[in-house]
């Protein structure tokens, strides 16, 4: 990428951040991200509550795996990334980008980075705040857990998983927004696949993003309730493999999106 193209990509990033992500229309993404943060704050600020550190650690692990990973980051990325191209098609404004002296790939990468910046800012801050809020009532115990115990390392892992989830789901939904007039239908299929992956045979589980993301979470949770009977326990993937695999998959999806965007046509009437 030439210096001029780098500048163009940054210009797309700035423009997208200004006009889309930090506007009033993105309120639902903030609600999705910061809703549990607020609940954790209420929990932590409650004077009557005197829970154990281990209990709060497990509660947060549950919130992260079952809410943030499966719901908030998934749907947040769906809303943010699928709109980068498809949203502009619906609003009939994509042609302004295509009529600039920039390679289409440069525009696509600028948009992807803008989506990534927005989702990272929103979700990493929401997860980090929730991590602190849920234990803040523990006082010195929490400080020791952070400074001398595994607290800081766990926080780093949660943030890293959030980053990887945004990169991975972002590339999936950017591509779906590029390929499909209504990306919600293929997105629903992806969601179902990710949701049931824990009940699939080992090989199929390894073909889902959630398997690798769950492998990287610092606190592993087993299946509970009636569904635990049909869950298939699989060894977590080694961290190096999980990180490398997710990044390679995202890179491959983005490369494919870069090829497809070169031949994308403006057809607002469809």
């Amino acid at each position: 990428m030439s210096p001029r193209e780098y500048q163009q990509m940054l210009a797309v990033l700035r423009l997208e951040l200004r006009k889309t992500f930090f506007s009033k229309r993105s309120w639902w993404v903030y609600l999705l991200a910061f809703g549990p943060t607020l609940v954790c704050f209420v929990h932590g600020a409650s004077a009557r509550h005197r829970g154990e550190l281990a209990e709060d650690t497990m509660i947060f692990a549950g919130i992260f795996q079952f809410y943030y990973l499966k719901l908030a980051i998934f749907f947040g990325c769906l809303g943010i990334f699928s709109n980068l191209i498809r949203g502009e098609m619906l609003e009939k404004t994509l042609h302004y980008y295509f009529l600039t002296a920039a390679r289409r790939e440069v525009l696509l990468w600028g948009k992807y980075l803008a989506g990534l910046a927005a989702s990272l800012i929103i979700f990493t801050s929401a997860v980090t705040l929730a991590f602190f809020f849920i234990r803040m009532h523990l006082g010195q115990v929490f400080q020791d857990y952070l400074v001398r115990g595994p607290g800081l390392a766990q926080l780093q892992s949660y943030v890293a998983v959030t980053v990887l989830a945004s990169i991975g789901y972002g590339s999936v939904f950017l591509l779906l927004g590029l390929l499909y007039r209504n990306p919600m239908i293929p997105a629903a299929l992806v969601m179902i696949w990710e949701a049931i992956s824990g009940y699939l045979p080992t090989l199929l589980q390894k073909m889902s993003m959630s398997y690798y993301l769950k492998s990287l979470t610092p606190v592993q949770l087993g299946a509970e309730g009636p569904l635990a009977l049909i869950a298939v326990a699989v060894e977590p993937a080694p961290p190096e493999l999980a990180v490398t695999g997710l990044l390679l998959l995202s890179a491959a999806l983005l490369m494919y999106a870069s090829r497809k965007v070169r031949t994308l046509e403006i057809s607002y009437s469809e």
């Binding site: 797309v12 423009l15 200004r18 920039a102 390679r103 031949t263 057809s267």
Partner: protein, 314 residues
Amino acid sequence: MSADRIVFDNVSRFYGDVLGVNRVNLTIPPGVTSLVGPNGSGKTTLMNLMTGLIRPTRGTIRVLGIPPDRPEELMLKLGYCAQYDACPRGLTGRQFLYSFLRVQGYGDAEAGELTRGALERVNMTEAADRKVAGYSKGMRQRIRLALALAHDPPVVVLDEPLNGLDPMARAETIALFREWGRQGRYVIVSSHILHEVDRISDQVIMLSYGYVVAEGQIQGVRSEVKEQPVQVLVRCDRPQMLASRLFQLNHLVEAKIHEESRSLLVRTRDADGLYLMLNKVVTEDGLDIESVAPADDDVHSVYQYLIRPEGSTA
């Protein structure tokens, strides 16, 4: 292919089974070229093909030697004001221009300078810091026009650029187009307003149902329409006497006298024969002729002859 022309070589574009344009062969020289035709005739399709927003099903296009699938080169030389009225949300007019000039590749200072110049050119400086969403249709048209022109491209493609403009702005915009045409730029305009097309155009391209039915300078196009009698308006001191003499001609179709304006509207299948006869009447009968002018070599007439009879609406 020529590097100083806009060339369509056997270009077809289909939308599924629906024809957009078919077998278009065009070479567009510098100057103002108007695309004329009813809705659905293929004007916007041609413009979108030329600017790379859509791709041809068959054939090749070159704009000053550059294929439209290389926007990084083409858009340095081309500005397109499309018909789509929407503008990106949340931006003021100034931010809209500045932001897309930055995407175009200009640095901060240069983009700021070009933004100021473009805003002045379309008289939008005062409204520049208001949100585009609050603009009237005419203001949105002007701000989109400003974006297409901001980087001063040699090729300007404008889809219905006069829509929504008030009379003053229309006159200024038309003057701007003519000035650019004189400077040797390529100004491609589509318009439904035929008398304005007449005022603007150095050449026209007439489209009907996806086919180019005529192209070139309007007088040349008119002379090719052989099946329609030529109309000539003669102002003279004795229109009745002239009419009686002209009825001796075999090729005369109609002669209509306008007493109040002392003129005669003649329809003939042989314009040269008519002019010879006029010379004869002047010398033999001492007719005092004030003016002789073709009455149907304008875009409107040619449009009526070539396109309107097929049942379409202008």
